[in-house]
């Protein structure tokens, strides 16, 4: 059931970035399963994320903060599917006057916090969890971080602060998409084996070998729910451009959108008329 939902979300997000004319298809597709598991997944019959489309600002809700800002169209697609706003809004993504921006915008129903740049989200979440702890509330705060952001100093400041304040209701997904090495592209500094560094700073780390497998994602979440007095990190090994055969692992599609022909091919694959 979750696989079917992931396919629907994938298509909704692809259509919205295609209509907007800007987007990062490769980066977007690698996180589809993570967001689907969060919003629709259940562990022993209990919903993972408590959200209510009829009450967008509800104080008992769980939060998802996108530090990976380019995944914003994905969150909008999920929220539209859940009924936070109408699906027709997705066609106006990034347009002037629209509630849906290319980055996570706090003005969109169901989105918490305006995150304008990469690397800001984890620090935001640390503040949010501290505020919840102050109120003695146990709402969970999930963060989606891309492995690329771990090059930024601000993220490490937040990692240290989260461990120092023992924020056990903070759960961070690190999306580490695999890409083929492309000699024509400039070489990026690789972050290396950072999972161990999280442990050194006092975090609990769960490895998800296949970030597109729901059983593995849910068992990683189950483990992190049982963690006490420590923030948790779920390291997900994913594939860039997952679900689009010609774009999988390709660096060229990381920060690009699909052309009209490619979009028609995808639509025919998903058995939807254009």
């Amino acid at each position: 059931m979750l696989e079917k939902k992931a396919a629907q979300i994938r298509l909704l997000a692809l259509e919205s970035v295609y209509k907007a004319g800007v987007g990062n298809v490769g980066n977007l597709m690698s996180s589809v399963e993570i967001l689907t598991a969060l919003y629709y997944g259940e562990i022993f019959g209990r919903k993972i994320m408590k959200v209510d489309p009829t009450k967008p600002g509800w104080s008992g809700q769980d939060y998802l903060i996108l530090s990976k800002v380019e995944a914003a169209p994905l969150q909008y697609a999920v929220l539209a599917d859940l009924g936070f706003f109408d699906k027709s809004e997705l066609a106006f993504l990034g347009r002037a006057g629209s509630i849906l921006k290319e980055y996570p915008s706090g003005k969109a129903p169901g989105v918490t916090g305006t995150i304008l740049s990469k690397g800001y989200g984890l620090s935001f979440a640390v503040g949010l969890v501290l505020a919840l702890k102050m109120e003695k509330k146990g709402n969970k705060v999930f963060v989606l971080l891309s492995a690329e952001e771990l090059r930024q100093g601000q993220v490490w400041e937040a990692i240290i602060a989260a461990a120092y304040h023992r924020l056990d209701n903070l759960i961070v997904f690190v999306d580490d998409p695999a890409v083929e090495v492309d000699v024509s592209q400039p070489v990026k500094i690789h972050v290396g084996q950072v999972q161990d560094k999280f442990k050194v700073f006092g975090w609990d780390v769960a490895q998800v070998i296949d970030g597109h497998n729901f059983d593995q994602l849910l068992s990683g979440l189950d483990k992190s729910f049982k963690t006490v007095r420590k923030p948790s990190c779920i390291w997900c090994h994913t594939i860039a451009g997952k679900g689009i055969e010609f774009a999988e692992r390709k660096t060229g599609y990381l920060n690009a959108i699909l052309s009209e022909g490619e979009m028609l091919e995808i639509l025919s694959k998903f058995n939807v008329s254009a």
Partner: protein, 150 residues
């Protein structure tokens, strides 16, 4: 520093949703921190502190950032993108001499820059006129430049 701590106590006593965020270097805050352990939070770096303030504001709190002007200058991008553009209810106490910080911060959207003559104490002494407390009662970001304090 004693003056600043006394005045922070007054503000936190008056506003129930106020929380104080500070950086490691602000070691002179012991009295305040001991009195309000659950409402004062230490951060390892000023950039993450700026964005954490936005997280507090998302839960309806009124974060008061107490930091030196020079350190805040490290986090102008976070101040602009995280606090000023979304127009969050965050108050910033910039202590010590900054380099033209009032002008730089004043150019950011939505934020008000206050330079109380004689520092915070002078501002609070005139509290009957609502000069300083008014800035806390009103929603939106405010930057207080306390150059010369302590």
């Amino acid at each position: 520093m004693e003056n600043l701590q006394d005045d922070l106590l007054k503000i936190v006593n008056r506003f129930n949703n106020a929380v104080v965020l500070y950086c490691d270097e602000f070691a002179g805050m012991e009295n305040f921190v001991n009195r309000f352990k659950d409402r004062a939070f230490n951060f390892s770096g000023e950039q993450s502190m700026m964005m954490a303030a936005c997280g507090f504001a998302a839960r309806g709190k009124m974060p008061i950032i107490v930091c030196s002007s020079a350190k805040i200058a490290n986090a102008y991008a976070q101040l602009r993108d995280g606090i000023c553009i979304p127009n969050l209810n965050v108050k910033i106490f910039a202590v010590g001499d900054g380099v033209r910080d009032a002008e730089v911060v004043g150019a950011m959207p939505n934020i008000r820059v206050m330079v109380p003559f004689g520092g915070l104490r002078a501002g609070l002494a005139r509290h009957d006129s609502g000069y300083l407390y008014g800035n806390f009662e009103e929603f939106g970001p405010v930057y207080f430049n306390f150059s010369g304090v302590p």
